[in-house]
Amino acid sequence: MSDTTYVQVLDLACGGLLLTAVLVLWRRELSVIVRVFAAQGVAVAVLVAVLATHEGSAELGGVAVGILVLRAGALPWLLRRALAGAGPARRETRPLVNVAASLLAAALLTLLAYAVSQPLVALAPSPATHAIPVGVTVFLIGFFVLVTRRRALSQLVGFLLMDNGITTVGFLTTAGVGLVVELGVSLDVLLAVLVLRILTTRMRETFGGTDLDELRELHD
């Protein structure tokens, strides 16, 4: 792969990441949000695959396949299962911040990400590290989704967006964190999602829905 194609595909994957993150903010239909999340998983996998080809590393290629299976396959599948059990309540009805304001917030978060990431890019300038702010943006948007959405499932997607952002930053900083740590991290994320998934089921059993507005038992 020539250097220009490498940079172009890299930027394309990052564009996909950013676009899908904004789409999650924009759309309210939960099934669409899950589909968008799966598309973002593909974008992360493409990004890692491009890095693998560029560095000629078979190990990283294997990791890319693993990411594709986990983030575009297993996790969206789990979310869809949770959604199928949710019954008619399938829309994010009343987010704390409306869509227009959310999109504005996304723009501000992007600016913030670029401002914060300056030292990260400056440490080792390269096409890959120049894309770090995109990963940070996805992370921040995920955090924003997590704190402003009221459906348990939307919060779960927010958490996973954060995680996609972290993974992206991890690979863009060419951080070979070691296979043990890498595996442990993926396993932990998968388990955390499973735990949350079990809890949404229990919440539905005890509260009748998964709107977090129902969570009003505990307060001071």
Binding site: F159, L199, M203, T206
Partner: protein
């Protein structure tokens, strides 16, 4: 041989978990968890005298600091697991749990102990992160064990907030690794190697990484601003689990902050981590004080007091002198024991009175004198009255705070601590003193405090008091642990 011993604190609880998985919770296996916690304690004491040990090709390293944390895990773990069989039997008798619940409870508690032991013996920030995230996953089910509306809500909040915090810490870990790769010696994430080459880390990247790590692990340690999960989780979890979470889990997360601070101090100077920790410490103390004054639920009262003590630890860490760090470590042990006693006692109160409201528990001293005595002395230990060790450690933290130029912050913290102490005393005296409530059910004889629970409670208080008079052989251990954390011999 001694190298094998470093594996014991992690492996022994895992074996215990396997036993519960295969055999279940029966009369024959009900003491397995206490035995394994005792084993962790013994191994930790031996390791503390043996000097630094590494195992699993450098994945685990137990130095003085790790050994001290293992002692805390073993001691509070022993207290909590010794009280567990009585707690579970009472729950089963009351129809709130089944033997299956008891099996799952015991299995998860063992896994919880193993994960905490792994966290403090890890030689590497990555493994530490995995272990701390594992504690969240394991304890989520323990918090939600009762499956009531409030328990499920508490578990959800707990997993979401702690996973978010830990995600921040993961980003911090990756960025620190990035900075480490760009140094001449490429130390990776190994604590010792990182500390050795910390002066060559890029300050810009390290600053972001340290902020993320401190705030992220701070969430798990119950420090403001991400503390909201703590009162809910601690009040809903079964009593022995609350004791473990408050007594050790918070400090294990705080241990991660202490290790990060070593690297931050060398790479960025002491100012950055100090400012961050002082802000979090004061915010935590303000939160705890404002919500304790009018608190109506005694388990939540204890939970807010944990936020207070984590704030004090952060203040001590911010001061950062060898005296401050030794006091912080002693405080971890003293608070762990006192809070363990109080949560186990509070669980017993909940079981015998059926209410968690402070106002509805009256005259406990007349009806259950032994339990009331343990609670009373536990609260006295917690607010730092001599001879309990919390007095010595709070004094140490305050002295170190004034000596390292944090006068205003320390003074403000002491004022808040006084407010909190007054609130705790008022609430507890309302529960313990007065005449027992009349009305239906009041005439039923209260079951006696089981022998072993009483021993565990009294033992915890006794150790806490003895530590306050003389730290004895722990002094050397505290000294060498403080040396690791301050970098000065």
């Amino acid at each position: 041989m001694i190298t094998l011993l470093t594996l014991v604190p992690v492996l022994l609880p895992m074996v215990g978990a396997v036993v519960y998985l295969l055999v279940g919770w029966r009369p024959a296996t009900r003491w397995v968890s206490a035995v394994s916690a005792a084993g962790v304690l013994v191994a930790a004491v031996v390791l503390a005298t043996a000097g630094q040990q590494t195992a699993l090709s450098g994945l685990l390293r137990v130095d003085a600091l790790s050994a001290f944390m293992l002692i805390v895990i073993g001691a509070v773990g022993l207290l909590a697991t010794a009280a567990t069989p009585a707690h579970l039997s009472a729950e089963i008798d009351a129809g709130r749990a089944s033997p299956r619940t008891a099996t799952r409870h015991s299995l998860l508690v063992q896994a919880f102990l193993a994960a905490m032991a792994l966290a403090v013996s890890a030689a590497d920030l990555g493994v530490l992160w995995i272990a701390i995230e594992a504690t969240t996953i394991v304890t989520a089910f323990l918090v939600g064990q009762r499956r009531t509306r409030s328990a499920v809500e508490a578990a959800w909040k707990y997993v979401v907030i702690c996973s978010t915090g830990i995600a921040l810490a993961l980003l911090g870990t990756l960025l620190l690794n990035y900075a480490a790769q760009r140094t001449p010696s490429t130390p990776g994430l190994d604590w010792a190697a990182l500390a050795a080459s910390a002066h060559t880390l890029d300050p810009g990247v390290t600053r972001i990484a340290v902020a993320l790590l401190v705030i992220g692990f701070g969430a798990k340690a119950g420090l403001a601003p991400l503390h909201a999960w703590l009162p809910d989780a601690h009040s809903q979890a079964p009593a022995p689990v609350s004791a473990l979470m408050s007594g050790v889990l918070l400090s294990v997360a705080f241990y991660a902050i202490l290790r990060v601070k070593v690297i931050a101090d060398i790479a960025l100077g002491t100012g950055f981590a100090r400012a961050l920790l002082i802000a979090m410490a004061l915010a935590s103390l303000v939160v705890a004080a404002s919500l304790l004054v009018a608190q109506r639920d005694y388990k939540r009262m204890l939970a807010y007091s944990s936020i207070e003590h984590m704030g004090l630890l952060a203040l001590g860490a911010a001061a950062g002198s060898p005296l401050a760090v030794a006091a912080v470590l002693l405080h971890i042990l003293g608070h762990g024991l006192a809070k363990g006693v109080l949560f186990v006692g509070a669980g017993r109160v909940l079981q015998t009175t059926g209410t968690s409201k402070i106002g509805e528990v009256r005259g406990l001293a007349a009806r259950q004198p032994l339990l009331a005595g343990c609670l009373g002395f536990g609260v006295l230990a917690l607010i730092g009255l001599p001879p309990f060790s919390v007095f010595a450690s709070e004094l140490g933290i305050a002295r170190a705070g004034f000596a390292s130029g944090l006068g205003w912050a320390t003074a403000a913290a002491l004022l808040l601590v006084l407010v909190i102490a007054a609130a705790l005393l008022t609430h507890t005296s309302r529960m313990l003193l007065g005449s027992p409530p009349d009305g239906p059910g009041a005439a039923i004889a209260v079951p006696r405090l089981p022998m072993l629970v009483a021993t565990a409670l009294l033992g915890g208080l006794l150790v806490c008091a003895v530590l306050g008079v003389a730290a004895g052989p722990l002094t050397d251990l505290l000294h060498s642990a403080a040396t690791i954390l301050t970098g000065t011999p």
